[in-house]
């Protein structure tokens, strides 16, 4: 449904996107992750025909965006909370888009209701908060009732209730068979929303898979606290485990908590804490993107 193949984009001496390839299937919510400057927004803009690639292909539904028959009704997009004339009322903003994109104007009130802005529809966008603008941007993306959604940082500016609403909305959209590609730097939020993630760094592909498979691939750690930390550390290193220090605690990698407990018992070391740390998407992200930098 969304296919990026060996995509390259250069800005002067900077290679913003470097041979990137990935696909997004229908009915999936895919997180598109990478550090700032990784090339996420550039890739999304290339997909939507706003930026020209130097080489490679970026297609949606098998075609380039501008070759789609009714692109606005087939693909909905959000780019940050900008793209509004501050002096135009929200409802009129959507009417302008509906007309140009050949979406029925009856959808305007429907999408305002979906994003919870029906009460503020006649306010000028300049008076909107960041969260309201983000909702309006989402309303724009949903106007054409598209099968594909491409969202760049859609959670920016949303309050916790808004983030939960967004999560439920994206899940329901995916359940209807739509493909959703969502870039975000709020990793904890993405983790709860997406089926799979594509991770890029410095314009290059790093990883693609389900959150579960990626978290499995990263080594878990155990948090250990002991009044005899120095003695315990010596024994753990002797056993071939990797140690990091976090305040008064040791973060131990390379073995399960049972192994660490046994080593402590054999060495007659008192333990105050022995907690396995669940690997989260954030850990995967940092592990993979840091590796990429080496």
């Amino acid at each position: 449904m969304i296919a990026v193949e060996d995509l390259r984009k250069r800005y002067g001496k900077t290679l913003a996107v470097d041979g990137l390839s990935f696909t997004v299937e229908p009915g999936r919510v895919v997180g598109f992750l990478g550090p700032n400057g990784a090339g996420k927004t550039t890739t999304l803009r290339i997909l939507l025909g706003l930026v020209r690639a130097n080489s490679g292909q970026a297609t949606i539904l098998g075609q380039r965006y501008k070759e789609l028959e009714r692109p606005f009704c087939q693909v909905g997009a959000v780019f940050e909370a900008s793209g509004f004339h501050p002096g135009r009322k929200a409802r009129n903003h959507l009417r302008v888009l509906a007309r140009a994109g050949r979406a029925p104007e009856t959808r305007v009130d429907e999408v305002l209701k979906i994003v919870g802005l029906e009460g503020a529809a006649k306010k000028r966008v300049g008076a909107y908060s960041l969260g309201m603008r983000q909702r309006l941007a989402l309303a724009s993306a949903l106007l054409g009732d598209p099968g594909v959604l491409i969202l760049d940082e859609p959670a920016n500016g949303l309050d916790p209730e808004g983030i939960r609403w967004l999560r439920d909305l994206l899940r329901s959209l995916a359940a209807e068979g739509r493909a959703v590609l969502i870039s975000s730097h709020v990793l904890a939020e993405v983790e709860q929303t997406v089926d799979e993630v594509v991770i890029i760094n410095k314009g290059k592909f790093v990883a693609h898979g389900s959150v579960e498979s990626l978290t499995r691939s990263v080594e878990g750690r155990v948090r250990v606290r002991s009044p005899q930390a120095a003695k315990l550390r010596k024994q753990l290193v002797k056993a071939g485990l990797k140690i990091d220090v976090d305040g008064d605690a040791l973060l131990v990698a390379g073995g399960p908590s049972s192994q660490i407990g046994e080593i402590a018992a054999k060495s007659q070391v008192v333990l105050h804490e022995l907690t396995p740390i669940t690997t989260q998407l954030e850990d995967v992200f940092f592990a993979l993107t840091t590796d990429g930098e080496k």
Partner: protein
Amino acid sequence: MIASLSSEWLKIRTTRTIFWLLLALCAVVTLFVVAGILTNNKADLTGSDNQAGAMGIGILAAVIALIMGLIVSTGEYRHGTITPTLLTTPSRPLVVVSKGIAAMLLGVALVALAEVFVIAELAAFLPIRGIGFALQGGDVARVLARTLACAAIWGALGSSLGLALRNQIGTVVGCFAWLFFAEPIVQGILNSHAIHSHAGRFLPLAATIGVFADTTGHDANRLSHLGGVFILSGWLALATVAALLLLGRRDVS
């Protein structure tokens, strides 16, 4: 094309800028017409031909159309609305053409409004000085055709220049600096005895004067009405090609 044009027209109608510019246009037109009626000799206000001359103030609508064309197009970059515009209308040439036509239509609408004001004010105020309202269809049509042509072209010119140059304040200030300061100087140089080229008449403001003004006898420094329209259209074509090339190649990021 219709969808894109309809959207561009709605864009123009749904901000307060157009409201304030319309108000300014009506106020200035009223001021000029009333002042003209009160201060001119009775003889200069009598007869259809003279009264049609008062309709010339409608050319201010061309300036408003130029400003609106510039503001609407550069506003796309200023407010970032160029992104949703290109998402709804991925064909960039279509965006350039739709915006140009919408600005042309705006110019036509502004002239129509301004001239309705002028005619209503002539009808209302001329009798106060004991002068009969004598405007005839032929004279009205002559002035209307010239002002409409100028306003339509200037509106589209503003739109294309705005899309090509992007910076709102720079483009508006630059256009006014050209029209009111630079062009008269350049015209003077090109038409001077030393150069004697008469090329100054091909500049945008001079061409507009050619379209608009009544000429008595031959003036080598002034184009004919049709010649003026032709040259102004040439400037519009140049600005449109620039907008097509620059917007067509530009990354929108």
